[in-house]
């Protein structure tokens, strides 16, 4: 795996648009890992509320299962 010191010179050689796309990719990755809905698509999901946060509910079910396994082995 490359270190930051190794790939920084390569990043500098990217075009302006590729640098912007790379930034976009990294931000999207970080948002997804954090479970945050990007601001850019929040307006596209006007109907999504706590009443239909089913993906969140599925993750809570997983957390409960893992907790039970931790307690009961």
């Amino acid at each position: 795996m490359l270190t930051t010191t190794q790939f920084a010179p390569m990043l500098r050689q990217l075009s302006h648009s590729d640098k912007l796309l790379l930034l976009n990719l990294l931000v999207a990755e970080l948002l997804r890992e954090s479970g945050i809905v990007p601001l850019s698509i929040q307006d596209d999901l006007p109907r999504q509320g706590l009443h239909d946060s089913f993906e969140a509910a599925a993750i809570l079910a997983q957390a409960l299962k893992e907790n039970q396994e931790l307690i009961h082995g």
């Binding site: 945050i36 706590l50 946060s53 993750i59 809570l60």
Partner: protein, 137 residues
């Protein structure tokens, strides 16, 4: 419902009187050895339980130690949330595990929703009488 307990709705705004009454349930949350007496809003319109940030901290939970992020909708969509399982005790009923979406929103209410409060307790609302009854599943 057998083994049930009845509660009155709580008036949240005196200027609106009975119009502002909501079903708040007093319960005790316990995480590891830390306990907290709180009131949670019974929200049949929420698919998940929600725990406000400060309440999680008061229970001794460490944000960085919770490794399951989850996406919430509505007003809470812009805040990061992570799964946190705590023990909950209602009245004399046996303690149950409740899984919360622990949000970084400091002003979110404590919400008791379908996953998994309403999977753990049966609740009957008598809105015209401003009361509700609850029993373990």
């Amino acid at each position: 419902m057998a083994n049930k307990v009845r509660f009155a709705f709580t008036e949240v705004d005196h200027s609106f009187g009975a119009l502002s009454t909501l079903p708040y349930l007093p319960l005790t949350l316990t995480y590891q050895n830390q306990s907290l007496s709180v009131s949670g809003l019974l929200d049949t319109g929420s698919s998940v339980n929600v725990l406000p940030y400060e309440m999680g901290l008061a229970l001794g939970a460490v944000w960085e130690n919770q490794r399951l992020p989850l996406p919430l909708g509505g007003n809470l969509a812009r805040f990061e949330a992570r799964a946190l399982v705590v023990k909950a005790t209602v009245e004399q009923f046996p303690a149950v595990d409740l899984a919360f979406a622990w949000t970084q929103d400091k002003y979110a209410p404590l919400i008791l929703g379908h996953m998994n409060f309403f999977l753990s307790f049966d609740v009957c609302f008598y809105r015209s009488a401003s009361a509700f009854e609850i029993s373990p599943k």
